[in-house]
């Protein structure tokens, strides 16, 4: 509603004054095949969450890392990373892995505050590691290749995984470890290999150019249904109906908003607002580093107040041309923006992972905020590194930034 009013005002005062053009722009904005990737990935993640995928992935990660210091915490990080490569959503990743791992961590003597922070921060990997719905939205509103964005998300995702795992090992270095068991690992792999193949098919298909992002999502959905219904046998076909209903509700809430936001972008582009912003900014900000610092500070502040989707829809079309003017690749900038907004999931007052964890894990909001602090600092360090060295994102895409 707010977006529609804003678009109507812009059309009235700066546009042709004919409000049916707002609807026409909305139609033009939605008439893009790549938008189909969003409901497909939502359905795909929904199917895998309903089934047994998360538990089987956790078993593999636990068997592979139990000999390491803080092995169970490292397993939690790895499980979040692998599940993130299926779900594309922060909250889904946190709930799917956290509901199993949090009690396990507590029962094995891991500090409560650390465990809560770990589960919440691990969940945020869902929007950085491809497939990622926020990366698709960024690609849509800035007309950037979604395939390139997905590939660029891999490097920062691995960086965050490594930093989280390293921190988990260091904090829990005094906890007892278990000996490595190849038999246990093989057994877990046998049970979970089908789930483990999912990110390989999704990302492998996209990376090799065999599928577009939309096609990969469709193949992923079919694979997820086959695995959960016929192999894992922990989901029945009628349950797919409830997954569909959730996707339909998301469509009803999100796509009209996306259309309104993209309509606004068309008006702004028509009136050359991004170019005017570039000229204005270049009068005051002379170095790319200063620009990146200011943008990151702005996004961190915005991430505290609005959700990732809203922030991308409103700011990405304005900031991406600025980033290009300062010499950043739009793909690298998109990934930097998502890594930045990822932190917003852990910052009050509207950090979604904080709020969901408060309800799902029955914890006080203040305790969760404190638990998130070290992880926020780690994520800030990773954000600084990716902003300073964008090749971390761009290496696999095949370009510098």
């Amino acid at each position: 509603m707010t977006a529609l009013l804003l678009v109507a005002l812009v059309h009235t005062f700066w546009g042709a004054g004919r409000l049916e053009y707002v609807v026409e722009d909305m139609w033009v904005a939605l008439d893009k095949d790549v938008i189909l990737a969003i409901p497909m990935f939502v359905l795909c993640g929904g199917v895998m969450t309903k089934g047994a995928t998360a538990r089987r992935l956790i078993d593999i990660a636990a068997a592979a890392t139990q000999h390491l210091p803080g092995g169970l915490a490292v397993a939690c990080v790895m499980s979040c990373g692998i599940f993130a490569a299926i779900s594309g959503s922060s909250i889904v990743t946190m709930l799917a892995v956290g509901s199993v791992m949090l009690p396990a961590l507590m029962n094995n003597g891991y500090p409560g505050r650390f465990s809560l922070g770990l589960v919440m921060a691990g969940g945020t990997l869902g929007i950085v590691i491809p497939p990622s719905v926020p990366l698709i939205i960024y690609g849509l509103v800035t007309e950037t290749s979604i395939t390139d964005l997905f590939i660029a998300g891999i490097g920062p995702g691995i960086l965050l995984l490594t930093v989280f795992a390293g921190y988990s090992m260091w904090v829990n270095r005094h906890l007892p470890t278990k000996p490595f068991s190849m038999a246990q690992l093989l057994q877990a792999l046998r049970r979970g290999v089908w789930a483990l193949m999912m990110p390989v098919i999704l990302l492998g298909g996209i990376y090799t150019g065999w599928f577009s992002a939309t096609e990969a999502a469709a193949v992923g959905l079919l694979y997820a249904l086959l695995v959960e219904i016929f192999i894992h046998r922990e989901m029945r076909l009628p349950e797919f109906g409830s997954v569909m209903l959730e996707a339909a509700k998301l469509g009803g809430t999100f796509f009209p908003l996306l259309a309104a936001a993209m309509s606004l972008n068309l008006v702004l582009t028509e009136h050359r607002v991004p170019e005017a912003m570039v000229q204005w900014a270049q009068q005051y900000i002379h170095s790319p580093l200063a620009f990146m610092l200011i943008v990151n500070a702005l996004l961190l502040a915005v991430g505290c107040l609005v959700t990732t989707g809203e922030a991308i829809l409103i700011l990405a079309p304005l900031l991406a041309p600025l980033a290009v003017a300062y010499g950043y690749d739009p793909v690298a900038f998109g990934v930097i923006m998502i890594v930045n907004l990822e932190i917003g999931f852990l910052t009050p007052p509207v950090g979604l992972n904080l709020m969901v964890a408060m309800s799902a894990f029955k914890q006080k909001f203040g305790d969760l905020v404190v638990a998130a602090v070290p992880w926020i600092l780690l994520m800030l360090a990773c954000l600084a590194l990716v902003s300073w060295q964008p090749w971390i994102a761009m290496y696999l895409v095949g370009g510098g930034a």
Binding site: L30, V219, A248, T253, P256, L352
Partner: protein, 159 residues
């Protein structure tokens, strides 16, 4: 929901036909021609647009619509019920206005004879879901304003 079943079916069938069935049949020596489904992405896209705008009504009815949180808490809690009813009435009126302009757009598209990019068929029947979706949502808001008990509780969380 039917729209989402159609989207999944069209996309999956197209990719399977093109990437798996076609190459396999050709490997076996059959001359099968194109094995994807012509226009499948466009059909799926139109199904998604229909599903999205009709889903606007479902989202309104279930309280799943997105709400910006910035201004939450600016109004005293005791004013809440009255403000909610007023907001519902205003929202319904705005959505009715949007539905009207959407209908003007559909009418102009029909008169201009605009056709779908892939099928050369008139596109206005698909576009007609836009005013229908907004009108459906508007009606629900008017019902909430008149009978506040029917108003769904807003969701605790949104992603």
């Amino acid at each position: 929901m039917a729209a989402y079943v159609l989207i999944s079916f069209m996309l999956v069938s197209d990719v399977m036909g093109r990437e798996f069935a076609g190459p396999l049949l050709r490997l076996l020596g059959f001359d099968v021609g194109a094995t994807g489904i012509y226009g499948s992405q466009k059909i799926a896209l139109y199904a998604m647009i229909v599903g999205s705008f009709l889903g606007l009504g479902i989202a309104t009815a279930t309280g799943a619509h997105l709400l910006p949180r910035i201004a939450f808490g600016w109004v005293p809690a005791s004013w809440g019920p009255k403000v909610d009813r007023l907001a519902d009435a205003v929202t319904g009126t705005i959505l009715c206005t949007v539905a009207w302009y959407a209908w003007v757009f559909v009418e102009s598209s029909r008169e201009a004879g605009t056709v779908m990019a892939t099928f050369e068929a008139p596109v206005w029947p698909i576009q007609a879901v836009i005013p229908l979706g907004f009108l459906s949502a508007a009606l629900r808001y008017f019902i909430f304003a008149l009978w506040p008990a029917t108003r769904p509780r807003p969701p605790e969380f949104q992603e």
